[in-house]
Structures are given as structure tokens and as C-alpha cells.
Symmetry: C2
Subunit: 338 residues, 2 copies
């Protein structure tokens, strides 16, 4: 089949290989600067002792409401988590709404209530905002952009270039819940596995833990593209290989059953309340204990480690005793998951 | 005619009365905090001697390209201008794209080139970004959100509460060019008045001028809703009245002719490269000279002043020698102007 390479495809937004190529080919060469080139979850701005983190994300999830969350909660926690990944204490967010003419005001109010609650819980202030309304048919109900500003913990500069062979990889809990909850929500409950999105702020669990464990090297939340794609990103940025133990990757029974029925791989499904943490091996046990003490971290596990034996790839030691390469997400099973 | 008040209307995004009511009724009571409540073009964050300005704007303009600009240039300069209005030196922007599946890559590249050029001219860095792709029909081609961070000039805190009776009001040039260029562009050139958008960064003109004239009280760029709406906003926030001299308001012959033909009032048409500046009367002549020395300010004029004789209203002394109240924009002649 001939593909038309002159047009934007859904895959350009899926977080996987096609999106990375778009960023590498069209974005980075144009804007080429040290802040953007790091491709961190946030940009780090200002002098080392007084650094702020700055991040942006648009949310176009469909449906707007799903088990465990909604577009408003997602927009707040998604941006908070991007700041937390840079070891920054989230302080301020912007809120920009693009609304389709005809949206029920009651729907907007529900979303605003959800945003309010999330901000209150996390002590984050909506400091500035914008509202645009487009004519019916020019957007799908509502899109939300939140940008965020946080204060980076003194002296902390989490970067993949600090990762060394032997470093441990921790996932903070069960994977694939958010993407699956949205997918199932889209099917209008015809399949009900009672899978809830894991959408949550990671600030309360991760910032204290990172403060206590100086050997945390890097964190990233495995959202679009899932754990597999995010680990490939980190491996590429670190210039090292990743070995992953399938038996250690925490997946709930419900999620496993739903994924099998739908024929999708939980390694590629988005998470919205989990982090991958790279930590020096000697600090990993302590970090794991700290995570497990928090309700969001009770299923945290060490799932693998970095190696210099191969580079920029992820190898999975399977349950069956084999090993296979795990690539980034390539196709697009999951549009508008966030 | 019965109107349905349970749904979002285009007027909720026009910058005028309906949008202000939405913000006052639904947004402010929920997020109630001193940063947002100021409703400045930017939020001011941090201690007085080290303050940053933070702003956000989404751009949904249709068509994407128009005489004098395009959505990319608009997104960069719009956010730069919001920072400049708070007397902040623009430093960093975020760039979040929501793209419709099927958009020509060549169109995306043209827009990215325009963003690159605008950032380079203004020495602003794209520090962080996001890309979402939605399925065909779920948005109209491309929407762009830019948030911005700037450093506030030391000791400057421009706020409408500092405005006093007698203060002069300056507009930095001819009005109504942006909105009209977009409107005419939408008609596909069937009416060609050769009106170009005034889309421009105001940093180079305004930051040096504000540095030199300590008695500048407040600035705002009259975008959506035009000069009339923005002056009403300032009058309300200042708790004072505004007297405006119609004969002093600079409108080019082309714009006047096009507005007459289309039956629209230039006072309500969006500008994207103009500022309203409130300055103590004693500083107004000096400020005007400084503005006129800059190419973007050659048509700058003192167009009115603040008064305590009436409150929170704008009165226009007309060319015909009468006077009339000028309200905020109420109806919605101009959706998706920015």
C-alpha cells in the first residue's frame, strides 16, 4: 500500500516513532536551542540555585469523561506530573480553553469543577487563562491546554545523560490503566472490565522521595506510547541499553484480561499516574521502600536496568524465558488518549 | 427570539460582554486567587525584585494565512505582546500544536518557518512544546497555543488601580487592521482593500519607552473586541470614566472605507500590533515622542483621558460634536479572528 507522506497522520501525534521523527525533522532544526533540545518533560530555566521548570500540554481526550477521570483532571495532573518529572514543585498553571459552539454549559462547569478540585488538592494556582470559541464542527467539544511553572528542587538536575550502566529502573505501579479506561469508555461500556484510569498527581509521592534519595538520575511518566516507548526514549537519550524483566512488570488481572480480549499490548498503553524512575542501584531499595509507603506506589517494582552491552535499545526477558527487542510505538492504535 | 442560555455561543469567545460574564460567573469564583483575579495580560509571579510574567493564548484564526501574517506569527507576537503589556522582557515561549489529520506537511512547515522567524527577530526561545493530532473533522486544520515567560522590568508594576483622573490615553497607531485583514481574507479576496494585518511585536518599541517614562501606569493591547472593549475593561478595572476624542483616533483611509462598506465599526475590530497606554498627563508628551521615533509608533496619538466625573464607562466625543457611550462588544461579528 502506498502511503501519502505529504500529510499529517494520526501517528504523528501518538508519542511513538512517527512523532519523534516529526520532532527531529521539522521542529528541532528550526528552534535549535539548549532548552528545547533536551526534550525533557519540562524546560529548565534560570540559574542553578533558582531554577524554574516550564512545560506545556494540550488535552484532546475523547470521551471527555471516563472511568477515573475527565479532561479537566487530566489537564491539571498531566502538567503537574511533567513538572514533577523534572524534580520541580508545581506552583502555577495556565488554562486555555478551545470550546466548540453549542457545548452544554453544564459540561463546561463539570470540567471546571474537576480542574478546581485537582488544583486545590495539589495547591497549584491557575494564574492566567484564555478562552476561544470556534463554530460548531470546528473542534470536538473542548480542548484544553495547560502550561505549568514549578520550582526545581535545589541542586537537582535530572537528565538521561547522568544514567550509568547498572542503574535500576523502577515503575511506580500497575501499567496501562489510563489508556485502557479511555478506550473502553469510547466503546460506551459495551465491554466493562471496570478498568479505571490511573490519572493522579505524582507530586506527593515523588518529590519527598527524590529529596531523600540523591541518586535518582532521571524520571519520566510513560504517557502516550506507554512504558515501551518511554523506555526507548530514555535508552536513546542515555546512549545505553535497557534490559527489562517481563515477570516484574506490574499489570492488574483486569487490565491483562481486557488487553488480551482487545488484542493490544499493555506495554504500549498510556499511563497518567505512573513514573519510570532511573536510580543508582545502591539507592534503589531505599527508593522502592519510600514509594511503597505511599498509596500511589504500593505496586512499585524494579523492572529492569541499564546496560552498556548494547545501545539505545530495549530488550525484554520474557516470561517464557526468551528475549525480544521492544521498539517504540509505531502504528496508531490509540488516538486522542490524552 | 428565545435564546438558549444553557449552551456556549460564539459570543463567549469574542472578548466582549458575554466572555467577561462567563469569566466572572464561571471562572473567577472557582479559581479565586490574587494572580488570576488581576486579569492582567500576564500573571506576575515571584518577589518584586525578581518577578516573572506568565501568559497563555490559543490561536484558532481562520484562514491560517492572511495579508500581513499567519497563525504562526500571530501566536508568537500575540504572546510576546501580552508579556510586554506587563512591562516584561519576553524570553521563553511554549509551543503546543493541535493538528487535524490530513493537514499538508507543507502547510505545517510554512507555519513553523513563520514561528521560527518571529522568535529569531525577537530573541525569544521555544523552550518546550507538545503535538497532538486529532482525526479528520475533529479540529479545523491547526490550533496553536503559546504560553510565555518574561522578566518584569525592575520596580515596574503596571496595574489599572494606579490610574488617576487626568491620566492620558495613547494608542500607538492606526486601529482595526488585523481583524479587517482576516475578515477580508476569509472572503477570498472578493473585496480587496489591500488591508494588511498590523500583527507585530511591540517589545522593541514599548520596553525602551516604558523604561524611560516612569509615569506609565498601564498598558493593554486592544485585540479581540477592539479599542472600545479594551477601554471599557480598563475603565472598569480602574473604577474611573474614559473620555475619548473621535477625531484623534487614527484610522487609515483604506480601513475606514472597508468598514463603511461592510457596515462594521473599527472601534470593535481586533488589533495585533497596537497598544493602549495610560500615562500621567505630565509624561504623555515625552512618551508620545518616544513612540513616534519608532516605525511602529509613527501614528501614535493621545486619544483621550480618564475622569472621575463618571465611572466605569467610556464616552466618545464624536466628530459631529455630540457625545455617546461606547460599550464593550456585545454581538459577535468576528469569530476566529485570532
Amino acid at each position: 500500500m502506498k502511503t501519502d507522506n505529504s500529510k499529517i497522520k494520526l501517528g504523528h501525534g501518538n508519542g511513538g516513532r512517527q512523532m519523534h521523527k516529526l520532532i527531529k525533522d521539522l521542529i528541532l532544526p528550526r528552534f535549535n536551542n539548549p532548552w528545547l533540545n533536551r526534550l525533557g518533560d519540562s524546560a529548565l530555566i534560570g540559574p542553578e540555585n533558582n531554577r524554574i521548570a516550564f512545560t506545556t500540554d494540550s488535552f484532546v481526550v475523547s470521551p471527555l469523561f471516563f472511568k477515573g477521570g475527565d479532561i479537566g483532571k487530566l489537564a491539571v495532573y498531566g502538567t503537574i506530573n511533567d513538572l514533577v518529572m523534572s524534580a520541580a514543585v508545581p506552583k502555577f498553571i495556565s488554562l486555555a480553553l478551545i470550546i466548540e459552539e453549542g457545548l452544554e454549559l453544564s459540561v463546561l462547569e463539570r470540567i471546571l469543577d474537576s480542574i478546581t478540585l485537582a488544583c486545590k488538592k495539589e495547591k497549584v494556582k491557575v494564574a492566567t487563562g484564555d478562552i476561544k470559541v470556534v463554530e460548531k464542527g470546528a473542534c470536538d467539544k473542548i480542548f484544553i491546554n495547560t502550561s505549568g511553572i514549578g520550582y526545581v528542587l535545589k541542586g537537582r538536575d535530572l537528565t538521561p545523560s547522568s544514567i550509568e550502566p547498572g542503574d535500576a529502573i523502577i515503575i511506580t505501579g500497575n501499567i496501562a490503566e489510563h489508556g485502557l479506561a479511555v478506550l473502553l469508555g469510547r466503546r460506551g461500556g459495551e465491554l466493562d472490565f471496570n478498568v479505571k484510569s490511573d490519572c493522579a498527581s505524582l507530586a506527593g509521592m515523588l518529590l519527598p522521595a527524590v529529596s531523600k534519595v540523591a541518586s535518582v538520575r532521571f524520571m519520566r511518566d510513560p504517557t502516550r506510547g506507554g512504558l515501551a516507548t518511554t523506555l526507548n526514549e530514555i535508552a536513546e537519550a542515555a546512549g545505553l541499553g535497557v534490559t527489562l524483566e517481563e515477570k516484574e512488570i506490574p499489570v492488574s488481572g483486569k487490565v491483562r484480561a481486557a488487553c488480551e480480549l482487545l488484542g493490544i499490548d499493555p506495554l504500549y498503553i498510556a499511563n497518567e499516574g505512573k513514573a519510570l524512575i532511573v536510580v543508582k542501584k545502591s539507592g534503589s531499595a531505599r527508593l522502592l521502600r519510600l514509594l511503597k509507603d505511599h498509596p500511589l506506589g504500593k505496586n512499585a517494582r524494579i523492572i529492569g536496568s541499564f546496560t552498556a552491552k548494547f545501545k539505545k535499545r530495549v530488550v525484554l526477558n520474557t516470561l517464557a524465558g526468551g528475549e525480544r527487542f521492544i521498539d517504540m510505538l509505531i502504528s496508531e492504535p490509540l488516538p486522542r488518549i490524552c
